[in-house]
Symmetry: C2
Subunit: 237 residues, 2 copies
């Protein structure tokens, strides 16, 4: 397992103190790579103060404007989710998240995404993920703060990192950028086929995203699917 | 599993804010019973503030002067320890701590003890425990704060509470008060036997504590051992 291939992505964090506490939680478990998507206030004294001995994590944090930029090169993307969604998505427990990330961090970049303090991740953001995790909690009081949630996930990543791993695959998995390219291509072709009606898209693309994100396309499979889409386009010309 | 039979014991906490954060961490995972041994400042506004929606845990917290009072009725006592000790003690991972507590909380009271922010638990306090837990961490930066440590342990307790349990035993286990009575009796007899020299006790009692705490005496075994000690005393008279 390579903890350096695992990044924690915080989306639109309101309170800089939470960014600092999250950095501290990460460092206690040996995680180093922090991505901040549109933080409200960063860098910040309050963040440095809460980070305590983990200011190096803040110093090296990557700040991006969009989630896309933060996960473009990742082969495994996991999003934390407090509530169940209209369309059920493949779920991992934090433990499974640790194990899966442990295995796959040898082969590609892994991102675990945490949403806004009040409202979490949007549906659109969650649909970018291969898996969702829900941290088990008291149904009557489930308000883990951001740093506490990062602590639990980072802890499971560390535990998994200390276990032997045996994940092998013949082709590398497609990364997020390739997947997004594929979805754009797929959508274009489906529209051209009059199968997807832009004025009434319903949940079609969401369901297709769920399918292919769940399947985890490797490079070879991706090439095959793109080839099919290209062949369809050629035929229609 | 009965989460109501599991208590979190904080020893000599310096900062009331940490007590509040620990209460919040407990409540998110469904734990309710907080014991505070000689807190520096409690009750406290800062504690209430950090507890957020978990002030009920603080309201119901039991404050004691000594660790003894906080764990006297417990059949399983687990202490958190940051460093390894001169005499190695049976260790649990946080996960094993969750599983063991889950099993045994059906039969008796369980305590998980957290030490002072700076210095943890003393050796004497640690020797009162059946097991020690060490939270896996980055060897170069292992400074989990108190609430973060409580969060990780509480999380493992919750995960274990959601799993089926199959722990059965014919007699109830001796509680801490009975164990202390036994150790006092044992020590008295060993001194009377000139086996234990009060002026040079070495690690004898510590090693015996480790042995019997590891074995986990049940009520029947306790009666037998006390019977043997009594028989020895009678013989010497």
């Amino acid at each position: 397992m390579n903890l350096n291939n695992i990044r924690i992505v915080l989306v639109n964090t309101s309170h800089p103190g939470n960014i600092g506490s999250a950095a501290r939680a990460m460092k206690t478990m040996g995680l180093t790579r922090l991505y901040l998507v549109g933080p409200h206030e960063f860098p910040s004294h309050k963040a440095d103060e809460m980070a305590s001995g983990a200011v190096d994590i803040l110093k090296n944090a990557v700040v991006t404007e969009t989630l896309d930029e933060a996960i473009a090169d990742c082969g495994l993307v996991i999003g934390t989710s407090a509530r169940s969604r209209t369309i059920p998505w493949p779920m991992l427990t934090p433990r499974e998240c640790g194990e899966k990330s442990a295995q796959e961090s040898n082969v590609h970049q892994v991102a675990v995404i945490f949403g806004r303090e009040q409202s979490g991740l949007t549906n659109e953001e969650l649909h970018r993920c291969h898996f969702h995790i829900q941290i088990p909690s008291n149904p009557e009081y489930s308000s883990l703060n951001l740093a506490a949630a990062v602590q639990v996930i980072a802890y499971e990543l560390r535990v998994a990192s200390e276990m032997p791993s045996a994940f092998e695959w013949d082709y590398r998995f497609a990364n997020e950028k390739e997947m997004e390219g594929f979805y754009l291509h797929l959508e274009k072709v489906l529209v051209a086929l009059d199968f997807l009606k832009p004025e009434a898209p319903r949940q079609l693309m969401t369901r297709l995203r769920r399918l292919f994100n769940r399947a985890r396309l490797d490079e070879m499979e991706m090439n095959i699917l793109r080839g099919i889409l290209g062949a369809v386009e050629k035929k229609m010309k």
